[in-house]
């Protein structure tokens, strides 16, 4: 007799997404800088913003309410509709 057990997982099938190609330049791109609200993440992002702006990039800043929870849907939507590239800072 065959033995059967039940799958204990959520049985998700995760769609495979290809990573976007690395952009050749910042022309036409809007770069979102996402601060996850860890201490001193802003220090890192300030430096990045400086360097990116010098390189001619258009930069927008975003911040999660807390690092302990995923970014709220509205924030994710805002970034997705306003930016073409995102850099997220994990810091301490």
């Amino acid at each position: 007799m065959s033995r059967v057990v039940l799958d204990p997982t959520g049985e998700r099938s995760v769609p495979h997404r290809e990573r976007l190609p690395r952009p050749a330049s910042f022309d036409g791109h809007v770069i979102g800088l996402l601060d996850i609200s860890k201490p001193r993440g802003d220090v890192f992002l300030d430096q990045l913003q400086l360097r990116l702006t010098e390189a001619g990039a258009q930069v927008r800043r975003y911040k999660k309410p807390t690092f302990t929870k995923p970014a709220p849907v509205d924030l994710r939507h805002e970034i997705a509709t306003q930016c073409t590239l995102v850099i997220e800072a994990l810091a301490d």
Partner: protein
Amino acid sequence: MTRPGAPALPDGLVVFVKRECETCRMVAPLLAEFAATVYTQDDATFPDGIDATHDAGLSWSWHHNIETVPTLIRVVDGVEVERTVGWLRDDWQRITGIPTLGAALPVMRPGCGSMSVDPDLAPRLAAAFGGDVLKSRRLELAELDDEFEMMFDRGFTDGLPVVPPTEERVLRMLEGTHRDPQEIVAIVPPDLVPVTVEKVAVNAVMAGCKPEYLPWVLAAVEAVCTDEFNIHGVLATTMPVGPVIVCNGPGTRAIGMNGGGNALGQGNRANLTIGRAVQLVVRNVGGGRPGEVDRATHGNPGKISFCFAELETSSPWTSLAQSRGYDAHADTVTVFAGEGPRCIVDQKARTAEELATVFAACLRTLHNPKLIIAFDAILVVGPEHARVFAEAGWDRDRVLSELHARLQFPGSELVHGAGGIADGVPEHLRDAPALPKFRPEGILLVHAGGGAGLFSMMIGGWANGATGSQPVTWPVAYAGATAGATMNGAAG
């Protein structure tokens, strides 16, 4: 009376019997006196001279919930309208409409167990006939597969062997709740996957739970998946925390939980498997696995399971659940994002004041003596320590207020760099006269432990408040009503 998918019984009178049953043999001669459809379980030739249907696979018996033989049923238009079990002469006479039926027989004889409820057969029948209520994907084992190794190989375990969740075991587990197997219990982080009662039951089987623990597991899963508890953050943090589950209410005694000796340790099935089941749900359904979203630097052994009952029967205080707004009769779980427990030793204190002072001194060291307010703690007071407070007449509120009063420190002691310790509060708080170690609701007082030993335990928490994790108390739901109905409206 019937189960879903049951084949309809014919109209008229229906009788279930088996030859092995003495009461069935006693009533068998009567079956020739009226027209009835007879189902015989163990012997196709029984009753003698009656053209009975042999319920060889027990499908009729199982689907129509026959628990006792003989069972006499009256069916009208395909619907059961009357049933009696065993031999009750009045019932049989009334249902058959024959006032003299069995007049020579005794007034009453109990029946025997139906073969469909034989403990050796019932789970197999449930899987055979009721298996389609289970929607989980079936994983078939090859002939030479070892089921325990297979569960390891597929990443389903917490590092310890799990009980293979067969259809029979999961169906038996589901008997522990009135809830529909396909009801969504919660959305489980980090993958935000809806979890059904059935999936919780699958993981509860794996953890080693008994069916009567399932309502507790369901309540704890619901509690940890709230936004307030924030299991996503509890899992993702590098700190060594996991859900600590404190159970309250008379149900803890009914299912044999331990709040006494070694309550926080090994040896009690309910304590250990309820906590483990919750963690397996987070792992298997939510996708929260170490090295992936779980980024703990060290973790702690309680992340396999950390669940215990409050020792309410001998407590000098109201319970934790009562302090959080529930009735003393309510069954609840309180989930707390906690690290491993640490011991507070004091064998000399004879006054409540002395004991509160040593408690405060130990609690001050939680995580870092100079870090304040950001972390809560569970304080598990052992019975011998609790007695000292009780003899002084200190109730729960008094104990907590005395502790908080001893846990105020001047900013100059806590500021960055003070005492040669870099960590601490910002410079602008240097001149604050008194800063509290804990926020006002930050100590959760619980009474538990064995009768001997002047010890208590403290369990440090993770980042608290709206940006971290809040302790959450959740009622255990039973058929008909939930313990939540008894919530008295105080803070929950």
